[in-house]
């Protein structure tokens, strides 16, 4: 977060609530109290939102649209407008008529410079991604992958729910891997890289499909860089991992939580008491400090 004056600072505190700030120094994340994480207004920051599941209305959250709106209101109340917002997939829940319209409308309510999305399996399972790509594929290659630069950071959006190999979900595929290798080749090792994709790139829990089968191949292209941040969704909870200069962060959903890896029969919606639901949902702010490229992640619960 950053501080321009006390009023804005207090707003930062209110937004983050019990949020944890993760900072990276030499590739090792350490959590610090928010009050210490002061960044200048000129620093670059953006937001990750994930797993909005528009259309979901079962017991775990009878109104996923309402909680998505709470998340967007939080983002729009940030003292400093985020440069961009990344949605790491499962924008919609069941590809039913109207869900994509609603999701699209929601993203347009965001007060930010640009929104970039990658699909989740819920967005593409019925039509191999035709509707998703028609709405969100502009500027992307292949099945929706893309890269862009902002403030000296190289962003790469990967799609790991639409590979044509058997199984499809949970793989990047040869064509995308070849594109990725070529895309990264022109960047010096000191360029900060942010990779965003739906399913975790590392093996969180393969029995539940919480893995990308060819993720290690992608990571082999990323290992030479000094700062790589991988942002994922899919598992509806925050987990982190560090591997050399690569840090991995999965995200809260704005719709419903899921159980911890292996706890219970499967990765389905986890029911919690209604008054506790928002404490299991959240959004994330990521800040790059211009002076030294230090990175801070703030995970903020919705309630």
């Amino acid at each position: 977060m950053f501080e321009t004056d006390r009023r804005d600072f207090l707003r930062c505190m209110a937004w983050a609530g019990a949020g944890v700030v993760w900072t990276l120094s030499g590739g090792v994340p350490s959590s610090r109290a928010l009050a210490q994480a002061v960044l200048k207004p000129g620093d670059f920051h953006f937001v990750q939102i994930s797993d909005t599941h528009i259309g979901f209305n079962k017991e775990a959250n009878p109104d996923a649209l309402a909680t998505a709106r709470v998340a967007i209101a939080r983002i729009n109340a940030l003292p400093m407008r985020p440069e961009l917002v990344l949605h790491t997939g499962d924008l919609t829940h069941s590809q039913k008529p109207g869900e994509f319209d609603t999701a699209s409308g929601l993203l347009q309510e965001l007060s930010t410079g640009a929104v970039f999305t990658v699909p989740g399996e819920h967005d593409v399972f019925e039509d191999d991604g035709r509707e998703y790509l028609a709405r969100f594929g502009k500027g992307s290659a292949g099945n929706g992958w893309r890269s862009f630069d902002s403030h000296g950071v190289h962003f790469v959006g990967l799609v790991n729910v639409l590979s044509f190999k058997s199984g499809g979900v949970g793989a990047l595929g040869a064509e995308q891997l070849a594109w990725l290798e070529k895309d990264l080749a022109g960047y010096s090792a000191s360029a900060p890289i942010v990779v965003f994709t739906h399913i975790p790139l590392w093996a969180v829990y393969p029995d539940w499909g919480w893995v990308t089968s060819d993720g290690q191949e992608a990571l082999s292209y990323l290992r030479r860089f000094g700062s790589v941040t991988v942002l994922n969704g899919h598992i509806h909870q925050v987990l982190q991992k560090v591997e050399g200069h690569v840090t991995f962060h999965t995200a809260y959903s704005t719709a419903y939580p899921q159980p911890a890896p292996g706890v219970g029969s499967g990765p389905g919606p986890l029911k919690v008491p209604a008054e506790e639901l928002r404490a299991h949902l959240g959004v994330r702010e990521v800040s790059f400090r211009a002076s030294d490229g230090a990175l801070a992640l703030t995970d903020s619960k919705l309630g």
């Binding site: 019925e126 029969s265 919606p269």
Partner: protein, 97 residues
């Protein structure tokens, strides 16, 4: 020798025999044997949605949840592997005699 059943009981027996229940992220039964010409019906009792797609591309359902089921008639003998379109760790097989 065929058992002496009423037509209704026969229909119910067929319906039960060719039913696959999706529960706790599993197809039950994982392997189902049927006769050529039989229809298999999938239903889902999980809170999460599921959908089935055959490995050879022969059949594909939409969302299976609540009262919405999916049925497919298998005319040709063979072994048909399929999986959940959303959760690839879920797979099943239909053996058509």
């Amino acid at each position: 020798m065929k058992p002496n059943r009423t037509p209704l009981a026969s229909i119910l027996t067929l319906a039960l025999a060719a039913a696959i229940r999706i529960a706790n992220f599993k197809f039950e039964p994982a392997t189902l044997e049927i006769a050529a010409g039989d229809t298999v019906t999938w239903s889902n009792s999980d809170d999460e949605i599921h959908a089935v797609v055959s490995d050879d591309g022969g059949f594909r359902s939409g969302v299976i949840e609540g009262d919405t089921q999916f049925a497919h008639t298998f005319d040709k003998p063979g072994t048909y592997a399929y999986r959940c379109a959303l959760h690839p760790q879920m797979s099943g097989t239909i053996v058509v005699r």
